[in-house]
């Protein structure tokens, strides 16, 4: 399976312990910077009611949906309990020359 690395933004465009929305070719992603300065990417929409997670709050390794507070571990995509029960898909991510890239297969 070939991966297609897509440039998201400059690494500094995302604050530590924060998230941004990234739209690409009709798909939407959430791209995170953790408190310890690592980057992660998941599908952009909550698996409960298709809300953009990038409007939500990042706390440690958790993203919380802005609508109904469904929680996921954004590093693994794992759903952390009601009202969400379906995991988020995660994507490979890398930082090169000050830019963030995600691999969209």
């Amino acid at each position: 399976m070939s991966s297609n690395w897509v440039e998201v933004c400059a690494a500094d465009d995302i604050d530590e312990e924060d998230v941004i929305r990234f739209d690409h070719e009709g798909r939407t992603f959430a791209v995170y910077r953790s408190p310890d300065d690592e980057y992660f990417a998941t599908d952009g929409l909550c698996t409960h009611e298709h809300i953009h997670l990038a409007d939500g709050l990042v706390m440690d390794d958790i993203i919380e949906c802005p609508k109904h507070n469904g929680r996921f571990n954004y590093k693994t995509g794992q759903a952390k309990g009601a009202p969400v029960c379906v995991n988020l898909k995660t994507y490979p991510i890398k930082v090169e020359a000050g830019s963030v890239f995600i691999a969209i297969s």
Binding site: H52, L57, K67, N69, A82, C85
Partner: protein, 408 residues
Amino acid sequence: MSHIVIVGAGECGARAAFALREKGFEGEISLIGAEPHLPYERPPLSKDGLAGAEPPKYVAGPDRYEEARIAVLTSVTVEAIDRRRKAVRLADGRSIDYDRLLLATGARPRPLPDAPENAERVRMLRTHADALGIRSALAPGRKLAIVGGGFVGLELAATARKLGAEVVLIEGLPRVLSRGVPEDIATIVTERHRQEGVEIICGARIAALEADDIGARVHFADGASRLADLIVVGIGAVPNTQLAEAAGILVENGIAVDETLRTSDPDIYAAGDCCSFPLSHYRGRRVRLEAWRNAQDQGTLVAANLMGAAELVASVPWFWSDQYELTLQIAGLADGAATTVRRDLGDGAFILFHLDGEGRLVAASGIGPGNAVARDIRLAEMLIAAGSRPDPTALSSPETKLKKLLAA
């Protein structure tokens, strides 16, 4: 501990049942509901769920109850609690023994005194069946009169406009949303509805509702009246306390529970819309919340306590409403606030922070398109829970991240 029986198969009861298994409870779980459906989410019923109608948005599919070994009894009414024998008696004559009992009986719509009992033309909204009934009467050009300018009435107005119905909303008080929503936000909501062609009449005194096979009519005290195809009454909810009361359990604006959600009977707990409980962040003030998240949070917490823990309710009240593209979110209780600070977030979105006389943040109310206010309201909720006294200047300037205030 062998059998936990949950009366009330709504969001709260279902959440408690699953949480029992998540926390390792090995005994039997029975979840008893009067409606014919598995537990479903009620918030959509006045929103997209009404427009979309069938089926309801289930909390979980049947396979998940099976996996979790939760026996769900639908279309079953509990008639009485026999506290001495520790059993509940069902309407069909059966009796189920419990070791611990959870009352998650919810609330029902508050009826308008003397409203005609014409189920076709004068309705209320609480259940999926109610939503289907209202939906079937709404179509382009049909006239809907809504009595009550609370969340249910306003959300229903927005949904009915989307479906093309003509809507008049009638509120007895001088403005809509007077319970718990600041006037600046109510004004935005009112304006938005008027743009969509909803007629809002405030300060109205209704003399009578009248309905027959042909139509319905709202009669005002000043002699005026309005014709409608359908009247929906949305003037609040009353807690379902009858079972508890009949069993001699203490009731105080809801089934009275302590901070562990235990009733006056040590083997019986209550959670969600049906109970009143002390709020630790507000000096132990006793409240009853009719809110989706509260139902979930209390369902989760009470599961631990049914298993013998003594976890304390410590959440901050939180609720939301969707009308057109606007979402309103409120955390905390604003009554008792001494000052209000406004934070503008762009796109017309703003948050009002309410501080008490000692500078402590007690509530935050926000409105804006989509989820524009969500993140800051969530952070405000955490500031409230932390008992924080944030600098009002920092609250009012959007450049100051609330997360920084939380860390301070």
